[in-house]
Assembly symmetry: D3
Homo-oligomer: 191 residues x 6
């Protein structure tokens, strides 16, 4: 990190050249594709094994086939992350949501109060459930699943929504404890 | 409102030509200056007396002289409004904050987690207090004021911070109940 | 303020003779009518512009025509103010509620637990909504309005209930931060 | 209960003549002394064994010798009962507090926000602790006791404060579930 | 208490030989029957009158005839006590629940999340109500009772559930403030 | 799953013979070592990629070298999982904690209220931090880290505590949504 730059993490961040090869290659591939390295890659590289597991989990949820669109998955991330007050996740995934949904307004709407967002009632039901998983998973019961099924979500979709909410709940906590800084590039993407 | 436009309010919105003259003039002046009419003016025009009192109060807090900069006042609005999940207030005042602070990143940072924002420790103490007023005003006591004073806030500044937090707490509730829609123009302003 | 009297406010309170004429006249008119000056007038007179906007707003909500009775408006104030732990508002508006409702018991009942008060089911639905606006306005939705409509509240009544709850939410915060002291006269009024 | 009177309890209330002799005698003694029968006696008489244990416990805490004055014990009851939204307890013990303290204002002050009441810093520390016992007893620790000791409360006083808070927490729940109605007489007593 | 033993209470614990005779006899009878003296008897013996009232109340609720089985009464204690984070009550009454239900798994299941426990829907409804009494008794209303009645609970059962929840809410607070230590014997009983 | 057995998951559970080889091998190895297959392996095998990432992450946190003992890591899991009301995690990791700590009492103590457990002040500070990460990660700041450092925790230990709390927060949510059932074997292990 050059001087005068705000820190990317409260913890040490390794130089890319010092990272294990598989991690370095993943990071360089992301940089190639995105034009910059999202800071989550740098922050977690401090712990290579956790880095590998984190991104394997991330990809298993966010890149897999399934009925939820890519934009819908990002809606879940953005809505639950704002309730968890996670700056990195809202800013970074807000950018991805704008791009996925080709809609410059949607991320801010979903982040602040998804009930008022330009999304479908089905998507609001999806986020209602994701928020319940995030905040009161202990109380999730059959009546919650019935609501989702009435909106034509399958049992597999239920798992997807819950797992995305749960995974990013973990991510939100890591980002807040590490003071993970969103890259400046994210703020304007997709607007 | 033209057809196919999402509603600006859950309640009726009068035509500008039907508004009382003083309200129409204020609205046209804002439109002249901003290039568009922020929806809060249209939504509240449904109740002319409340409109007049609301904006008189707003101006008394936000446009008055005082030690808090215009940007700092907007920080208070943005941070407390996100905790109240007020879409209109975060989007609209986020735009104003970016402009006042000449900083395209600051609004999203302050909205999601001001503790991680690129602001001074003094400004964080200011928002800590504003958030306490917003969420637990009953417990505000001398020790809170002592912290503010240790950051060189005066007694008058304490009133300003508290009053801005309290006023926008009201505004947040009105916006949520009316489903006040942020103008599309706000999202990109100052980025 | 004479010596040995507990302070009316944590902030400076101007002498009546030093107040702007319009404020002084309003205060003297209240004193004429009530026999004493409710402290909210003295406390807010420290900020004349805010004083004017506050009472203009207050009057626009509490003195306007409408379907809600004067007593019902005060019920909203008393119930939400106790949840916000606002001593001034519960004591002062409790007195007004007793007088408006010609009922010496109602204020304490509504303040502590309106669900057990001697009021109608329609009034309980009104306060349920006011409390939701006060505590979770972000979650207010059509189902809340449907309940109110089933009790024959109109759309305008919904606005009134919400606006009174929101306005006194602001007032509660100002009173708590200023340590606004209820006048001794209020406690026994209407009993 | 005569017709047209609001019910004293959601559960059956026995006729005094049908009560076990010891309970009847206690109730008649209270009526003799107070001029009326506080409804808690009638409501709990539905369960004679619980009645006996309840009042034995009550007397062991409220009538025993000790450093806490009678008025201070009632302050604990009134402050914690309002947070628990117990109408019977706030109204009935508010009356007793006014009488014990010979102060017509104190009950409403302590009920709504004891931090602003006309009581000593020592009494505020006492209520701070009672409220913590009522709301977060799991987190009570040595630092809480140190604060009490710094105000010259003994270890026995700590037990008294905690036990009164805990006992009336039970009482608050019973009163809310039974819809125990405060007697009309309480509202004006001691004002 | 012998040396090297962790303290049973933050407060003084009397020697059995110094206790009033009725208390000593009750304790010796329990010891005879159980093989050890549950610490709650020792801790509360510091206050003989409160000891007597506490156990009279306990017995009136837990040993009386009624429709709730002994195991069901213990389920209420275990579920609500864990939400109150009361170590003594969960460990001691968990042991009793295992014994009463002749089920080595049930106490841990009910303590952590009764919604997932091997109990009947009727028992889950019973605990739902007990938890509402414990956490939000102010909001208990007819709709709660209707649910219980749909599960064939009588009005007397409603009282029993509520009273057990309320009584152990008091007990939880006393145990947390006194740092009442569960006897080592409880942990393995009934497994 | 044989008939008459309670379901292990609300979602489908594959037969071991149908699982991908690496997953089957891991499961058989666990069975070999433990004598039974902990249900988390069966439940997550429904999603092989998530299974692999989950256990890679788990092992990276729980099996890695570091200053936190194995027992301390389990304390974090048990304390935070009970606050999240996760039956599977408290029962299964409670068993592991008893074994790691060679202490039959510790798991129940730490689960219900770690502040009263037979652990060191340093371990209580560790759990205080883990609980804050679990419940209010947004508010974690330098003062929290200072407390940990005063107990001789290093920066790497801070990461470990936070990551374990965050990872099991995810696990708690997955277990609650899937209704993951603890194996009967866990309840008695290590007692």
């Amino acid at each position: 990190m050059s001087t005068n730059q705000p820190a990317v993490s409260r913890f040490p961040v390794p130089d890319i050249s010092d990272m294990p090869q598989d991690i370095r290659e993943r990071i360089l591939a992301v940089q190639e594709k995105s034009g910059f390295i999202p800071n989550v890659f740098l922050v977690l590289a401090h712990r290579p094994d956790e880095f590998r597991a984190f991104f394997a989990y991330h990809d298993a949820l966010m890149d897999k086939p399934g009925n939820l669109t890519k934009a819908e998955r990002e809606m879940i991330v953005v809505a639950t992350s704002n309730l968890n007050q996670c700056q990195y996740c809202v800013v970074a995934h807000g950018a991805i949501l704008r791009i996925r949904a080709k809609n410059p307004l949607i991320a801010d709407q979903v982040a602040v109060n998804y009930r008022k967002a330009d999304i479908t009632p089905r998507q609001k039901a999806m986020i209602d459930f994701a928020v319940k998983v995030s905040q009161q998973a202990y109380a999730v019961g059959e009546s919650d699943l019935d609501i989702l099924k009435s909106h034509d979500f399958t049992e597999e979709d239920v798992w997807d929504i819950a797992a995305i909410s749960a995974f990013f709940g973990m991510s939100n906590r890591l980002a807040n404890v590490t003071s993970m800084r969103p890259n400046d590039e994210f703020y304007a993407l997709g607007r």
